[in-house]
Amino acid sequence: MPLPNNKAVKKFLDLIQPWRGLAMLFLSLWLCMLLMPLRLPGLAIGDIAPNWLLIWLVSFSLSRPVLVAIIMGMAIGLVHDALTIPQELTASVPSHVWGMMLISGLTALLQKQRYLQEDFISVALIVFGMTVLAETAIAMQWSFLSFTGKYNLGQIWTQQQRIALVSALLSGLWAPVLHFPLTRLRIPQLDNRP
């Protein structure tokens, strides 16, 4: 990363160097969380916005060991639950944890076997596919709940088509915007790419 040629800035960056990567990881995650409730014109279609948390997770999971990716997937799933599920309904509605664990594990596996290179198109494609998977995981949980009679199975799957397609499209399109800054700000100690 090119830095401004300024002594004070350099000194400050040296001081925070060991923590810079971690801080960026944490801050970027918070930025994604704050983007979630926004519906900016041009960024949302039909009240559906890109799934920034999922993009962040895919970006994290690429080139990481599967176990680490799955644990982070679990963490992000819990975070997404906290953002959406009303306290009083916690026990009786789908959780994001399963879908997030699945997609983070799959993403880590994908990269390991070098099926895909890391470039604009493949990141967008991975995010597209993973969003569809994550939304389908949610829809399947709703389907199980529909046996209680409260939810309508047909309605769930029409919803799934709409949400999965629009969300995957938007997330895929916006994925490079988040992914490339994140990869430029890698943690030196934790980075094991050549």
Binding site: P37, P65, A75, L83, Y151, N152
Partner: protein, 265 residues
């Protein structure tokens, strides 16, 4: 055979060492990342337990420059709207007086706060909004949110300066409602869009297209008599109970402000 036994055992031992070696190498390489992920998991559990209150507070704070206070003079005031409002006020007064004479509890508390909608749901499966006022403004969980047009939802989560509203258009929200004209009872569920499905409790309900729907006195979550919507179509042959499609009277996707009342007693 004996040699075979030793041979086999030796191989197993050697493979065991190889596996251990592999685990150690993995550990040397990824211990840092594993630690980061585990710490993240612990933080996420704490965050989940608090149900995102910290996030709501920060979001409210960050979006403050774009927030504005509700200004009643901004509401378009045509003469006809004003006239209707006066008449409703008069009727409500009369109604309250009659209720007092019958010693019935009043339906909606007179104390209400206006709050701006600052965010929408963080997931397309949920129909929620985030508003700019919270527990420090006296809003509690279970409070009722109404907007121009009628009922909007109820508060499910509060942080000091913001709250989350579960809209009536959410599939997991159910409202006990009544057909104003015939007093036929039913339960209204959201469909994630501008319409809801009203499931009648009666097998042969007296309802017509165009009938007005309001919250019923049997609802425990909502006060009685709030306008909710209008019947668009009816399917009396639907199993297990007759159904009607209801247009919500509040233009939920277009709302910018909601009025929050204390939860019903």
């Amino acid at each position: 055979m004996y040699f075979w036994g030793i041979e086999v055992r030796l191989t197993v031992w050697r493979e065991g060492v190889d596996v251990l070696e592999g685990v150690r190498r993995w550990w040397d390489r990824y211990a840092g990342q594993l630690l980061v992920a585990l710490v993240a998991l612990i933080l996420a559990i704490a965050f989940r337990y608090a149900n995102g209150v910290l996030w709501m507070e920060l979001y409210q704070f960050v979006s403050r420059p774009w927030q504005s206070q509700y200004n009643p003079s901004l509401v378009v005031e045509e003469a006809k709207v004003r006239e209707l409002r006066y008449r409703i006020q008069e009727l409500e007064m009369q109604n309250n007086q009659l209720r007092q004479m019958l010693s019935l509890p009043s339906t909606l508390s007179t104390q209400a706060t206006w709050a701006q909608i600052i965010g929408r749901s963080a997931d397309a499966w949920w129909q929620q909004v985030i508003i700019s006022k919270g527990s420090s403004h006296g809003i509690t969980t279970g409070a009722i949110a109404t907007g121009a047009g009628g009922l909007v939802g109820r508060i499910t989560e509060t942080s000091p300066h913001s709250s989350r509203v579960l809209l009536i258009s959410d599939p997991s929200s159910s409202v006990g409602v009544v057909v104003s004209r015939s007093r036929a009872l039913g339960i209204l569920r959201g469909q994630s869009q501008g319409t809801g499905v009203l499931e009648f409790l009666d097998r042969d309900p007296d309802a017509k297209v165009g009938d007005i729907i309001a919250t019923s006195s049997f609802s425990t979550l909502y006060p009685e008599g709030l306008p909710v919507g209008r019947i668009r179509s009816i399917n009396l042959n639907h199993q297990p109970a007759p159904e009607a499609l209801v247009d919500f009277s509040a233009p939920i996707p277009a709302l910018e402000f909601v009025k929050v009342y204390a939860p019903p007693q």
